[in-house]
């Protein structure tokens, strides 16, 4: 019976079927009698808007949530999955949308966690590290096994998650938005891995909001809407726009024309700025950039090359070691974050769960994080709850945040809806300067479209926007100029019409773009 074994030695999962899964949360039915199935040798896409219930369904499968109703069949036999241990034993693995990494441990320790060790009671981290390097080599995922997670950028952390899954070699692998934080090149490499796995007989479930990825890699697609199953289709039998239409219920336009906008004065000036990373090593080296009113400056680069530090240096969150930051000609280099905020600089941080919002605060409380102390949200030190509530309601409506109420804890929203709350807060204040890090990461197509529209709206209003993104399509679609950053240095700034993916890609890899 060797032919139902995978190369890794796992038993193949020929079919896995979820029937009638219902999962409720306070105020929400995240999954309502959902049927879903996946088989060996296919990539099955799970598609749906933010908050449709994709992650929930997968967490039920992985044993992290106990469903109220429903059954799971493996190779035709009913099984019970009550904890991740159960699902792991059944050969199921999962890469989570919100990383499941222990920050204070090293990469190798994270990978080794929960696995039997070759040295019994003792850890065998050397062996694990070796194997990680092997895997990294095979799949082109560069990673230092001895690095601590907290030292890694989001993209690198995503790689660790992938390695973790590969290392364990599950027969069925759930991939919850693994590509959201990967560069296009990394996505390509990742797809190579996925194809290999499928060919070997693995079953893969792939969640992504990027339709072209789904068209590219998947065999079948299941669409969820508001927790309900819409249907399952074979990818070959459907086009991308049909898919978008099917999912959102209307046409979505993905390409945009930039309206001509008069470029204004330099609102944000970085003048030979340097700063250090959390580790104390130099993160930004002598960076000089101007961002002008009415333009979108795209900052392209592979995650972890100083983008985060740059934004934090500007916003007062990180001490600047050299150089100056000017905001509308005022030297704000050593201002506190609050003082920078007061000068109407908005910042959409990359790690929104950690930096951008307070999970246990309600949506309304999060909505006024920056302006809780000023009119109309506060008078003489007292919060104006009514004004806050009204503002929040209008934001929820405008940004279509899917939530039971404005008093819902922000942390219980779906990944995409959390983003919307942060975006709504930052954009709605009509900032003079807007720093947006990965503004559409994790958003569904409809939401992405809306955010893009909002950014362009701000641009039209004369806001100076710096958009940090790894998504070259997005950068090229929206930016007037594109700066490329690599290892804390600006490799060059390219005007929109001169930018090509090839050119940008080379610069991102460290080649100077001097003309």
């Amino acid at each position: 019976m060797t032919d139902n074994k995978l190369p890794s030695g796992h038993t193949r999962i020929d079919t896995l079927e979820m029937r009638g899964i219902t999962k409720r949360f306070p105020g929400v039915i995240a999954n309502n009698k959902v049927d879903f199935n996946v088989r060996s040798g296919e990539v099955h896409a799970l598609l749906g808007e933010n908050g449709a219930g994709k992650s929930t369904l997968m967490k039920v499968l992985y044993g992290m949530y106990g469903p109220e109703e429903g059954e799971i069949f493996l190779n035709g036999n009913q099984i019970t999955i009550e904890s991740p241990t159960d699902s792991i034993n059944q050969g199921i693995g999962m890469i989570h949308q919100h990383f499941m990494l222990v920050e204070t441990l090293t990469v190798a320790e994270n990978v080794a966690l929960g696995l039997p060790s070759s040295r019994g009671f003792l850890t065998d981290l050397d062996k694990v590290s070796e194997r990680i390097l092997e895997l990294a080599d095979i799949y082109g995922l560069q990673i230092d096994p001895d690095a601590y997670i907290w030292q890694l950028s989001v993209g690198q952390q995503q790689r660790v998650e992938i390695i973790k899954a590969l290392y364990r070699g599950a027969a069925l692998l759930i991939l919850d938005e693994p590509t959201a934080v990967l560069t296009p090149q990394e996505v390509d490499e990742f797809f190579v891995i996925m194809r290999q796995m499928v060919a070997d007989g693995h079953a893969l479930i792939f969640i992504s909001h990027k339709l072209h990825e789904i068209m590219d890699i998947c065999d079948r697609v299941t669409v969820l809407r508001d927790g309900e199953l819409v249907g399952t289709k074979i990818i070959k039998e459907i086009t991308k726009s049909e898919l978008a239409n099917w999912m959102v219920g209307r046409e979505v336009s993905m390409t945009r024309e930039l309206e001509d906008v008069e470029r204004g004065e330099a609102r944000l000036v970085l003048d030979h700025v340097s700063c250090d990373s959390d580790r104390g090593t130099p993160a930004l080296r002598d960076v000089s950039i101007n961002v002008y009113a009415g333009e979108i400056l795209g900052l392209a680069g592979i995650s972890g090359n100083g983008q985060r530090e740059l934004a934090e240096a500007v916003t007062g969150l990180r001490p600047v070691t050299k150089g100056r930051v000017l905001l509308e000609d005022e030297d704000v280099t050593h201002f506190r974050p609050g003082e920078v905020t007061e000068r109407m600089l908005s910042y959409i941080p990359e790690e929104r769960m950690k930096d951008g919002m307070i999970k246990d605060f309600s949506i309304s409380e999060n909505m006024v994080l920056r302006e809780h102390h000023i009119s109309p949200f506060a008078e003489k030190g007292f919060l104006m709850l009514k004004n806050i509530a009204e503002h929040t309601d209008s934001m929820i409506q405008k940004f279509r945040v899917k939530t039971p109420s404005r008093e819902t804890k922000a942390g219980s929203l779906s990944g995409g809806n959390i983003q919307k709350v942060v975006l709504a807060r930052e954009i709605s204040r009509n900032p003079r300067v807007l720093l947006a890090a990965q503004p559409t990461r994790g958003l569904d197509v409809g939401a992405t479209e809306y955010v893009h529209a909002q950014l362009l709206e701000q641009r039209k209003n004369g806001t100076a926007i710096m958009m940090v993104s790894e998504d070259l399509d997005e950068v090229m679609a929206l930016s007037d100029r594109i700066a490329v950053i690599c290892e804390g240095e600006i490799m060059g700034i390219v005007p929109r019409d001169e930018a090509t993916p090839q050119k940008l890609g080379l610069m991102m890899a460290g080649e100077s773009g001097e003309e």
């Binding site: 991740p84 499941m100 920050e103 080794a112 966690l113």
Partner: protein, 309 residues
């Protein structure tokens, strides 16, 4: 006179510092395990008291010190089991349930003492067991290697704890459960099982801490004989930044300064006794200020883990 003193004093301070540190070490290392897995146990003092009584009573009635030791460990483990059930299964607020267990141990140990013994008694505790050879080394031997067996045990516990936490798969699980239980859980690590283990281990060690007092160092039992020692032990875990060696440093510092202040009074150094008694507390804080630690607490400390909502 003073010449005689200087050598005597230093040896004296170190020897009694080591003795004083013993119960702190047991309790604080136990607490370190718990906190590393995300559980704050403020009931240490109560566990110590019940352990101290169990050890004393069993040793007193059976005249077998080892049985006493065993009794202390069992009682401590049972207290730990209770704490684990309440915090892991019932998701009770950790700090407050710890205080509850503290009160329970404080009261129960005294009640049992009253019912079973009635008055202060003494036992012949663990004798001083010089370590062969090592105890012959001048000065050092006298300080470190002429102690009773539970003192050695406490100091041995430090490298063992370090080893378990940093070099074993169990330690890896403990650390990850305390830092990110969701992540550990998602990899099939049973958060509940790990926490049960560390809390029960912590209780067992607290029981030993009590036994080290009642049948090794002091050889008596009296109500509330720990007088809040368990709370200091919890504080020392913070001093040691959740590291076994750090806890050792804290316990030694605190105990040494304490024995130093006893000597200061004996040497007639003219400061009011109350101020002298304050010294270990003040110095512990000052040292922490001076050695600014960047280590933060385990992220999941005090947070119950509840999968599935």
């Amino acid at each position: 006179m003073t010449e005689v003193f200087s050598a005597t004093v230093i040896i004296g301070i170190l020897t009694s510092g080591i003795r004083l540190a013993t119960p702190y070490l047991y309790a604080a290392i136990g607490e370190t395990f718990g906190q590393r897995s995300g559980v704050l146990n403020l009931g240490v003092d109560g566990q110590m008291l019940l352990g101290a009584f169990a050890a004393f009573y069993v040793a007193f009635t059976t005249e077998n010190l080892w049985l006493g030791l065993l009794a202390a460990m069992i009682v401590g483990a049972l207290m730990g089991l209770g704490m684990a059930y309440v915090t892991v299964n019932l998701h009770a607020e950790q700090g407050i349930s710890g205080i509850g267990f503290y009160l329970f141990g404080l009261g129960m140990s005294e009640l049992l003492f009253k019912m079973l013994l009635g008055t202060v008694e003494t036992v012949k505790g663990f004798p001083i067991t010089p370590v062969p050879l090592l105890s012959k080394i001048p000065v050092i031997g006298e300080i470190f290697f002429q102690q009773n067996i539970l003192v050695y045990g406490a100091f041995l516990l430090v490298p063992i704890a370090w080893f378990i936490l940093n070099k074993t798969t169990l330690g890896l699980k403990i650390r990850s459960v305390g830092e990110n239980p969701e992540a550990a859980d998602s990899l099939g690590v049973s958060v509940a099982r790990v926490r049960y283990f560390t809390i029960i281990l912590g209780g067992t060690l607290s029981g030993l801490a009590g036994a080290s007092m009642s049948i090794a160092l002091l050889n008596v039992f009296q109500q509330n004989m720990t007088s809040g020692l368990g709370f200091i032990a919890v504080a020392l875990v913070y001093f040691g930044a959740w590291r076994a060696w750090g806890v050792l440093a804290g316990a030694l510092l605190f105990s040494m300064v304490n024995s130093m202040q006893l000597w200061m009074q004996v040497l007639n150094i003219p400061i009011p006794s109350d101020i002298a008694v304050m010294l270990p507390y003040i110095l512990t804080i000052i040292v922490l200020v001076a050695t600014v630690s960047r280590v933060r607490a385990p992220s999941a400390l005090t947070k119950p883990f509840d999968r599935g909502h």
